[in-house]
Symmetry: C2
Subunit: 266 residues, 2 copies
């Protein structure tokens, strides 16, 4: 049974204002909090190691999800669907919205030595970042290291588009130029996709390393290029007839990760 | 030099209304027209075999693109940037907007015999369809056959997201259930991605065939499943630890097309 003391019918204006304020990166940075919503991601968050600080849901959702560790939330509101809509960022709100602490991890470069990791240099579109985090999750890539110019992974749109991957993949924001020398010192191979790279299908790939993906229109920053051990290219078809200029960065990430795992991971 | 008679400063209300009306599928179907905009796709359209019926651009764009076959347009308006904004569907309008005829192709199944083609069963998200058309373009897949329930490729959002692929890839809307028996009769192998399929990396793939991709949440319609010769699955990693439920349909299409071309196309 639900604890009746949790039950409220209205959300205070301050609470609505607070949750909605988390749409802005400035406010997320200041509070260290982000918003996640819906039947898929909220249960995953509650079952993850992340801190859920607030949860608002309809009574139907609360009853159907009584098996979840709801006591992990510091504060819970049971509200009508109409009330819930007031704090939702979705066009079609679902039955539950929560606020959780943005996880921060210290980056220990030496721990990347035996793994495959992604480096994102100025991937600016939130949709692309969400897609990439979902790909990382599928292919068991635990660490995604983003330049400060990359979109914010805790933007509500990115959180939703990761389909729960955000609860499993570790996202770091770092100055890539500062950490790349350390990566090199550890002897970790650094791969990057470029339009002048060699055919990835015919390249030697290692089971560990960094895969660097660049900006949607400019590719990898020229200042980072000297750190690459190997430039990779996804061949178009037919080989003698180039039709498009490039692949979308999410699509390219998918193909490269698939190729690494196919060759070295199984 | 530009023909001064083309020059106008204002767009009539009727013209604005007409261009904007093409946002709706109903109006595109009725008129057989669609809208494309921007520095990338408009030149590609003008250089393609498609019919461009109307073009509005700033004088700067007209001067910079005087080498294009602009006389192919039945009607041209040179307008200020503020006027152009009135007929644009973009948040940040570019310097040119055009209207073109929706190309329709008769589908001849026998012509698919020696090629790789995509079948899309109820891919509903316009963004996913745009991504898939761009992937098809990269991998030289000339024909994308969509079920009637699939998003409309001539939706302004899809057109823009294809980055010009819409001028090269042929898109058909068909009743897939009706044409699949014919495909089978022609002996064309039919592949589909499913969550119960066999490891694509270890499967035998042919250089020709149909790759069928299903709906974002439901996958391939159960009525179409009996037509599949082979069900394929993209393995997650590590093999003993499934973390996500599925990959996005655009991402899955990218990996499958890459694997077909890697194995059989080069």
């Amino acid at each position: 049974m639900l604890d009746k003391s949790l039950s409220k019918n209205m959300l205070s204006k301050n609470k609505i204002k607070f949750v909605k304020s988390l749409e802005l990166k400035k406010n997320r940075t200041e509070t260290g909090l982000f918003v996640a919503e819906g039947e898929k991601i909220v249960p995953e968050l509650l079952l993850s190691s992340l801190d859920v600080t607030y949860l608002a849901a309809t009574s139907i959702w609360m009853e159907q999800n009584a098996h979840l560790p709801l006591t992990r939330c510091a504060e819970t509101d049971i509200v009508s669907y109409d009330e819930l809509k007031k704090i939702s960022f979705l066009k079609t709100p679902q039955q539950v919205v929560c606020v959780a602490k943005i996880p921060t991890y210290p980056l220990r470069v030496s721990e990347l030595t035996n793994k495959l990791s992604l480096f994102l240099d100025t991937v600016q579109d939130p949709g692309n970042l969400g897609t990439i985090l979902r790909i990382a999750d599928w292919f068991g890539i635990e660490d995604v290291i983003c330049s400060h110019e990359t979109a914010d992974a805790f933007n509500p749109k990115v959180v939703q588009s990761t389909m729960g991957a955000i609860t499993r993949v570790k996202v770091y924001y770092e100055n890539l130029e500062e950490i790349l020398p350390e990566i090199k010192n550890c002897g970790i191979p650094i791969y990057g996709t470029t339009l002048n790279g060699e055919n990835i299908y015919a390249s030697e790939l290692t089971s560990n390393g960094i895969i660097m993906m660049g900006n949607e229109s400019k590719g990898i920053n020229s200042e980072l290029m000297p750190y690459l051990n190997q430039q990779l290219f996804i061949p178009f078809f037919p080989e003698d007839q180039k039709r498009s200029e490039s692949l979308n960065v999410g699509v390219a990430t998918a193909i490269v990760c698939s190729e690494f795992r196919r060759r070295t991971g199984h």
